[in-house]
Every structure is written in structure tokens, then in C-alpha cells.
């Protein structure tokens, strides 16, 4: 009950923050969606970082390190440190400047203008929304699993209706916990809009970073059982099997091709929206520099905790050992008292919610701006009606995701990789739109269609994520090279886009002048 009380208290605090930020709301859709371009460097860093660090980074990385070993950090964390900041630098600043100049609120508005194509939204919108669903699913699924795991033994049998109690082991049923988290995030997003989301993200990112370090300290001390932290760390790590310390079981080509995955940051619709909230281009400097370092602070403790879970210093019950998503909550619950468990759980939930909020808000913005207002006609709906439509669409998508979360769970890490792979395959499109004058409307359409069809085909081939070891294999000179599906999708998209662009009519001179102005010599 103490754990539940602390989680409840944290949620109440978050709602209060959302309500407070709503008092600063200016009542316009621009303020609701972009916080009137008022976000400075620190809040931009925290909201960008909080948005990219999801359940994937905490629950997923711990579970994956438990299964695959120490190499997991190199698979995604160090590469993300390089690639994410690269995307902020080469895409973020440029898109911010175009957004500020021409008043874009969403990615599709930008592409519509750059490609001189009124219908690009019709094809891009379902692709972007379809691929964000697995991303939302990660957060919704992980929050349910986490709350259930840390509250095990709290309730007696019969407290909840029979269909909810299956496999709950006396904890809050996963479906109930996921539902509550969805409702909480919906409430503060609805009240606070982008300003509330940015504030909540900043607050929650601080919470999960501080509590993450505390979690690591407490778990290391308890597991090692020595008097000093260093001695405990050494004892815990000395018990790790040599197989988990190396990458002997990992394929080198697979490791190399994981590098394509973080390129997804360039096409995440919610990050695009965050980029537009920046007060100035200089606001990007702090996120560009601090992002790799922050990733390290969050991922390293999770990887070590996952590795320690493989040792004989702790016994995992069979259901936990079979479910990598449950490793972190189990370690937190097993090795801490109820007060610490409650606080640490709040930290993990903070990380999960700080991503869900941006994604929810972005979905609503895209639907109203790109579909309702654009195709329905400007001025047809009042500001109030626009915000209401945004909220209704968000609720519909969250309901779909929630229903998906009730089915057979997938590994958070695997699902995350599929989602990121789809967005990463669209990276050539956004990059070409900013740096390649010859990109044409037809080339862009071909890129989106190629990306979507190759993603659907390969995701189906992987059993919709159930085959966690799925790779695309190439036989060259008698050797087989196994690669991540993202590489194939990325190159297919890029090649098709380039070929089609080269053989179709070029953009007009007016468009080229608008997006590639000649600069006077300095």
C-alpha cells in the first residue's frame, strides 16, 4: 500500500503541474501546439531528452541486457549519442528556421509546402500515425507491467473482477494500471497543451534522472552487500558470467547495421513539434551537447542492473526470468523497502509518461492541422473547436493502443526497434528535402510508399515482432551477412526516392528560391 500511495501522490503532483501550466495558456491553438515558440535551452534539452528516453531506455534496456549482455549499450545508446545530436544539428536547426519563417506547426505542413503537393498529407499522415502506434504501445504496456510488478502482494484474491485477476499475483492488474496512466497523461496534455507537456517533461526528466542514480546506488549496495559502494559494485559485477560481458553471441554486421536505427529521430513527428517550440536556434546548443552524456547517465545503470540480474546473487522466479520487461521492476521491488520502491517506481513512470505526453499531443495536432483544418477549410472551425477535435482524435488513438496492449505482449526492446526502424527509413526524405534541390514530389511519394510497404512486409515476415532475432540476410561470396531490417528499408527508400526524383519534373524556381535561397558572400 505504501508503494501505491507514493505512486498515487506522484500522479497527483503531475496533474497539479498540468493544471498550473494551463493557467498560462493563451487560448490559441498555436500556444496549445507550440507554446508560442517560447521554450528556452534548458527546457528544450529536458523535453527533447525526456521524449526520446522512453520505457524503451529503462525497462527495455535492462531487459535486453539481461538477455543479450553488456553489448546492448553499444547497439543503441552510444550510437544514439552521435546520431541524435547530429539530427538536432543538421535537421532541427534548419527546420526550426523554416517553421519560424513560414509558420509551420507540423511535419506535413512543411512537406506540403516544400514538395508543392496538397495531397502528401493523405499518404504521409497514416504512415506517421501507424508507426507511432507501436511506440505508444511500448509505454502503455510497460507502465502496466511495471506497476503490477511493484505492487505484487498488495491485494487479496477477489479484490478485482475475476477476468482482471488472472496473473496479477496480488498486484494492480496490468490492464487497470495501463488505463490509469493513459488517463493521467491525457488529462495533463489536455489542460496544459505543449506548455504543460514541456513543463511536465522537464519535471519528469529531472525526477527519473535523479531517482535513476538513487536506484542504481541502492540496488548495487543491496546486491553486493559490502560496506562501500565500490566494493559492492565489484562484488556484483564479479558474479556476471563471462558470456554476458562480451559480444561473442552478437553478430558484427547486425551490430554495425543497428547504427541506422537512431536516425528515426529525424522523422519523429513529436520531436519535429518540439523543435518548433524553441525560442531561438541557439536554444539547440545545449541539447546537442548534453544529449549523448544524458543518454549515458540513464543507460549505464540500467545495463549493469540487467547484467546483475543474471548472477546467482539474486534468484528470479520463473515468470520473471521469462519476461525481460519485468526485470527492472522486479529488481527495484526486491532490493528496496516500500518507500524507496514507491519513489523509484515514480521515477520509471515519469520516464514513460514524459514520452507518451508528447506523442499524444502531436497526434492531435497533426490530425487537426493536417487533415481537419487543411481539407475541411481554414476558418471553418473556431479555435475552441479545433482543440476539441484534437482531443477527440487523441482519445480515439489511445483507445486503439490500449486495446492492443491487452493482447499477447511483445518484448519492449523488439517493438521499439521496429517502430524506430520505420521512422529511420524516412530519414532520406527529410534530409533530401532540406539539402537536395532535385527532390521532387513524385520522388517523395515513391519514398513514403517504399518505406511503408517494405516496413509492413518485413514486420509481417518477423511474425509481427514475435521473432526477436529476425534479420535480413545477404549471401556474398559464400558468407552470410545478417543485417537489421532497417538497413534494407533505408536504402530501398533512398534509392527509389533518388531514381524517381531524377526522372520526374523538377520543383519550380519559386520553391527552390524559397527553400534554397542564394546567400550573399560573407
Amino acid at each position: 500500500m505504501i508503494v501505491l500511495g507514493i505512486i498515487g501522490g506522484y500522479i497527483a503532483l503531475l496533474l497539479a503541474l498540468g493544471l498550473f501550466s494551463s493557467r498560462l495558456f493563451k487560448g490559441t491553438s498555436k500556444d496549445y501546439m507550440l507554446a508560442s515558440h517560447s521554450i528556452g535551452p534548458f527546457m528544450l534539452l529536458m523535453s527533447l531528452f525526456g521524449t526520446t528516453m522512453t520505457a524503451f531506455a529503462l525497462v527495455g534496456s535492462t531487459g535486453e541486457a539481461y538477455v543479450e549482455g553488456a553489448g546492448v549499450y553499444g547497439l543503441l545508446a552510444s550510437s544514439s549519442g552521435i546520431i541524435h545530436s547530429l539530427c538536432f544539428f543538421i535537421l532541427g536547426v534548419k527546420l526550426w528556421s523554416l517553421g519560424k519563417r513560414y509558420g509551420y506547426t507540423t511535419q506535413i505542413q512543411y512537406f506540403r509546402d516544400r514538395l508543392q503537393s496538397d495531397k502528401i498529407g493523405v499518404i504521409l499522415f497514416p504512415v506517421l500515425v501507424g508507426m507511432v502506434i507501436p511506440y505508444l504501445l511500448i509505454g502503455v504496456m510497460a507502465s502496466g507491467t511495471f506497476i503490477n510488478a511493484v505492487t505484487r502482494g498488495t491485494f487479496e484474491a477477489g479484490t478485482f473482477p475475476g477476468f482482471l485477476e488472472e496473473g496479477m499475483n496480488g498486484g494492480v492488474p496490468k490492464s487497470v494500471a495501463s488505463f490509469i496512466i493513459c488517463i493521467v497523461v491525457l488529462i495533463y496534455v489536455f489542460f496544459g497543451g505543449m506548455r504543460g507537456t514541456a513543463w511536465a517533461n522537464t519535471f519528469q526528466t529531472c525526477v527519473f534522472m535523479v531517482l535513476g542514480v538513487v536506484t542504481f546506488y541502492v540496488i548495487a549496495m543491496k546486491l553486493g552487500g559490502e560496506e562501500t559502494l565500490m566494493a559492492s559494485l565489484r562484488k556484483a559485477s564479479a558474479a556476471i558470467d563471462a558470456d554476458k560481458l562480451t559480444r561473442m553471441h552478437m553478430s558484427k554486421t547486425q551490430f554495425a547495421t543497428y547504427f541506422f536505427v537512431p536516425l528515426s529521430v529525424g522523422m519523429f513527428p513529436h520531436l519535429f513539434q518540439h523543435w518548433l517550440t524553441a525560442k531561438s536556434a541557439s536554444s539547440f546548443k545545449l541539447p546537442v551537447v548534453a544529449h549523448p552524456f544524458f543518454i549515458m547517465i540513464v543507460w549505464c545503470p540500467c545495463i549493469l542492473i540487467g547484467l546483475w540480474a543474471t548472477t546467482d546473487l539474486i534468484t528470479l522466479p520463473p515468470p520473471i526470468a521469462k519476461n525481460p520487461n519485468a526485470i527492472l521492476p522486479f529488481m527495484v521491488d526486491k532490493l528496496n523497502g516500500p518507500v524507496m520502491t514507491g519513489l523509484l517506481s515514480a521515477g520509471v513512470l515519469a520516464a514513460i509518461m514524459s514520452s507518451l505526453d508528447s506523442q499524444f499531443l502531436c497526434l492531435g495536432t497533426m490530425f487537426t492541422e493536417d487533415i481537419v483544418v487543411h481539407y475541411g477549410g481554414k476558418g471553418r472551425y473556431s479555435e475552441k473547436q479545433t482543440i476539441l477535435i484534437a482531443r477527440a482524435f487523441i482519445i480515439a488513438i489511445v483507445a486503439v493502443v490500449y486495446v492492443f496492449s491487452l493482447f499477447e505482449p511483445r518484448r519492449v526492446f523488439t517493438l521499439g526497434i521496429w517502430c524506430f526502424s520505420g521512422y529511420a527509413s524516412l530519414f532520406p526524405l527529410v534530409f533530401a528535402s532540406l539539402y537536395w534541390k532535385k527532390l521532387t514530389k513524385a520522388g517523395a511519394y515513391a519514398a513514403v510508399i517504399t518505406c511503408a510497404s517494405s516496413w509492413i512486409y518485413l514486420f509481417k515476415e518477423s511474425g509481427f515482432g514475435s521473432n526477436e532475432k529476425f534479420t535480413v540476410d545477404f549471401k556474398i561470396g559464400g558468407n552470410v551477412y545478417d543485417t537489421m531490417p532497417v538497413m534494407t528499408m533505408f536504402f530501398l527508400t533512398a534509392i527509389v526516392m533518388i531514381i524517381v526524383s531524377l526522372v520526374t519534373p523538377k520543383p519550380t524556381q519559386e520553391t527552390l528560391d524559397k527553400f534554397f535561397p542564394e546567400k550573399s558572400a560573407a
Binding site: 498555436k30 553499444g74 534548419k94 519563417r101 509558420g103
Partner: protein, 84 residues
């Protein structure tokens, strides 16, 4: 674009490519040693990659940052009489 900025961008591009190459550390593949007695070598090496990335991006903000973009945009927006 000034020559200094061009040079700065080339330096940063070179360093980022170098970091990407160093990321594929085949030589650590079967190393099971622990650095400081508790961090696996493979993890420690990639922590250093993360740290180096932060240093390179800090350099980018000093020698390759597009300050002109901000000036141009703000001038244009104020000419138009406010937020676009």
C-alpha cells in the same frame, strides 16, 4: 558562409565520421575484462564513445554553428511584424 565556418564544419564532419568508425570496436568483441573491477570493457568503451560525442558536439557549437540562420530568421520575422 565564411571560410572559418566551412573549415569548422569539415573538422566536425571528420570527427563524427571517425567516431562512427570507432563505434564498430571489433577488437573488444571477446574481451570479458572489467574496468575499475566493475564495468565490462565493452560497456566502458562505448561510454567513452558517448563522452567523446558530447565533446565533439560542444566543439560543433563553437566552430560550426550556423549563427547566420538565427540572425536571418529573426530579421525576416521582425520585418513581417511578429511571429510567423
Amino acid at each position: 558562409m565564411s571560410n572559418q565556418l566551412k573549415q569548422g564544419r569539415l573538422i566536425i564532419a571528420g570527427l563524427v565520421i571517425l567516431l562512427m568508425i570507432l563505434h564498430q570496436d571489433n577488437w573488444n568483441w571477446d574481451n570479458s575484462n572489467l574496468v575499475f573491477g566493475f564495468i565490462p570493457v565493452t560497456l566502458f568503451y562505448h561510454m567513452c564513445i558517448s563522452f567523446s560525442a558530447s565533446v565533439i558536439w560542444f566543439m560543433a557549437t563553437r566552430i560550426a554553428w550556423p549563427d547566420d540562420v538565427e540572425e536571418e530568421v529573426l530579421a525576416e520575422v521582425s520585418e513581417q511584424g511578429g511571429d510567423a
